[in-house]
Symmetry: C2
Subunit: 224 residues, 2 copies
Amino acid sequence: MYLGYKGALLSSNGDPRIRMATLPAKPDMKDRILETADRLFYLQGIRAVGVDTIAAEIGISKRTLYNHFPSKDALISAYLARRFVAPRPSDKSPVEQILGTFDSLERRFSAKDFRGCPFVNAVAELGEDRSVRKIAVAFKESRRLWFRDLLAQLGIAEAEALATQLALLVDGSIAQDLVRNDPAMARAAKEAATVLLKNAGVKVGAADRQKKRTAKKRRPRSAS
Amino acid sequence: MYLGYKGALLSSNGDPRIRMATLPAKPDMKDRILETADRLFYLQGIRAVGVDTIAAEIGISKRTLYNHFPSKDALISAYLARRFVAPRPSDKSPVEQILGTFDSLERRFSAKDFRGCPFVNAVAELGEDRSVRKIAVAFKESRRLWFRDLLAQLGIAEAEALATQLALLVDGSIAQDLVRNDPAMARAAKEAATVLLKNAGVKVGAADRQKKRTAKKRRPRSAS
DNA sequence: GCCTAGGTACACAGGTCTGTGTACCTATTT
DNA sequence: AAATAGGTACACAGACCTGTGTACCTAGGC
């Protein structure tokens, strides 16, 4: 027997007036669908997850899903749009923000539900789909520009080129971690980023270099 | 009417003795299947390509395909195994080999049939598939070790760490090019790699830095 | 001349996928 | 009280997928 969401369960279960007044105050069905689709798409792959699966996971009927999204493609687009979050402004120094990026990455790599960059994965999976490519490019460029502006604040002449290189390190560590499942890739990227920054004339303080709580079996003298 | 491959066409087309002696010397059906699967899997994605499509592309029946590979999974494994090519030994200096990697990448990026790293793509698409992950890790590690050994030849102390960083740049540029379709990502990676090498005490000659045929709108003084 | 290996053609089982149609049920608004 | 909005249950169309069954045909080796 299919029960669906709680409201249905209760109301099909005796006196309908028993149901709690706030129950059908479901927190926006559309959001629930999107959130579930996000999780499944990201963890298992877009093609690997059918709309049936998404609906079943929430406990709604497929019909309801299609009442909120006209097609799976629309759901995919919404999924990627939802993943496009701009970095929030910070009080920290530009250098701290730049290097902190790699600390964040390391934390995310350590989470067991990290599965690479959703945009890169989507492009890899969906190939030449125009809209997917478009949003993926926009995302990559937004992060590059974020780096560039921070570097510009530091007065770096080659901010453009260096921002691109930092973006390479970010995506490289993500790809490597996706395959290897090794959060140390983020540390390696941070060390490389530090060298690049220093080479561009940025003063990198020791506090920026050593932020980690647990340094596991690292050679202490490894320069950067 | 279905004709299939040339041998069938000719022999069903009048006197059977007309057929050229070497025609059914088909260059190993298995290889043809694998080569076609490779092309389609790589360009369109593994899940996106059915065995029907592969068979139709060659002009053979699906039955023939299944006589050579017991399942699609086996075909996928063979595809990835085929992509696992170790870098061939070279006479060039270690530095030239390392930096030449990025020149090769730029050339590959410029080809219109480049679609990222097949191993990363397969992991992104197939998720937690054990055998896929295994071969992908092996491939990534083999390249990292190749870098490491070249660096060791140069007497670099931190060969391990630096090799990892170079690998990050390689995969970063691949991911970025997959999304952006911009071969310049390889140049950016090469410039970053040059900085890292110099920082490790490697002497990088001008010949290593300037190998490109056409330098398009580059600031001439951009350090590396 | 016969046998075998490896093709071909074609049907089909059984599953999954996206997307729709339809009838009903319930809560809120008017 | 009636209408509306947004659920549910369920069937189904139509496509596509992997994989199998079967009967045939042909070239080459014995």
